[in-house]
Assembly symmetry: C2
């Protein structure tokens, strides 16, 4: 015997959280029961609520509990500019720059046939109908600078060109504050090829 059955079950289910192993799950469960029962109750409720009500925006596929998300329905967002990202968290990262005032489209992944991620899974049919509306003048592809991200970017750029939409890709180069010594050769090559006039 280690803990009571309900407590063991709570520890086991806590392990579904990313980065939570058996020790952390144990610590979490015990702390919630010792001095966090109100918080725990709130967490259980908010989790159940979120899972029941949060779906995807019908236009951009970001998480949203309404049919269309706040950005898609905003009057202050430029509908001519569409930024395409892999994950909802990337939207949050770009929003933090305070530089982009257009709209988004979230692929919810990247092309990866071996993992069963084809064009349908990354919402290409929805993206096509978005392109078809005719408002978009520039598509900024901000998928990750990985092999899969680049392949996905290539696929989307070919598609956008069929709709005569200008396509750009976020610049790949050296990170602000980094040291050349520690930068991988691929990135450095990109930074050299993409050099800018000063």
């Amino acid at each position: 015997m280690r803990f009571s059955p309900l407590l063991e079950q709570l520890i086991e289910t806590l392990r579904c959280l990313p980065g939570v192993g058996p020790k952390t799950a144990q610590r979490m469960a015990l702390q919630l029961l010792t001095r966090g029962r109100d918080n725990g109750k709130r967490l259980a409720q908010s989790l159940a609520e979120a899972i029941e009500h949060i779906g995807h925006c019908q236009q951009c596929r970001i998480f949203s509990e309404t049919e269309f998300c706040e950005i898609c329905t905003s009057m202050h967002r430029d509908p001519a500019l569409l930024c395409i990202v892999e994950n909802p968290i990337d939207v949050s990262a770009i929003e933090q720059t305070n530089i982009f005032k257009g709209k988004y489209f979230v692929l919810l992944g990247h092309l990866s046939p071996l993992d069963g991620m084809g064009p349908e899974e990354i919402g290409i049919s929805k993206l096509k109908s978005y392109f078809h509306q005719g408002n978009i003048q520039e598509v900024i592809i901000a998928t990750n600078p990985t092999v899969e991200g680049e392949a996905t970017a290539h696929y989307i750029s070919e598609l956008a060109k069929q709709y005569a939409i200008k396509v750009t890709r976020i610049a790949r180069g050296v990170a602000i504050g980094s040291e050349l010594e520690y930068i991988d050769p691929n990135t450095l090559a990109h930074a050299l090829m993409g050099r800018e006039l000063i």
Copy 2:
């Protein structure tokens, strides 16, 4: 705008878990929604259930959803031997040694007047009635080897002596596999004073 209100709320409530900051909470929430909705539902249920049903064993104060816990009601446990620990997790640590076959009493903390932890809060009245039953022949005090843990150990040993019960304290010394070079002087002093004949 960063995320939808329900999602922001989930991220906020996830932060009640120990060791979970804003970034981790975000990652957890997004992963639960992206590819863990079933797990999330199970977690919400098990959390609500645990918080509603898990109380404390009426005899030893460990977490239990029944009036008396499995150890207290076990016929294979020596009722003459009582090990006193600070936290439920300490019971789990001692159980893992597979050496102790007595019963436990969990203080749920230690004496710390400044934090409002007096004898009543650590269950001394319950411990007294436990001592009063007359079955206990030896009390092993396994509170943490900290200032508060030692003070609590002293308090309990004085109490147990009033009931003519033998009191022992877990040995303090050098940890197996450690190197003398890195051991703090206090521990080393204890190890010297508590030296054993070989």
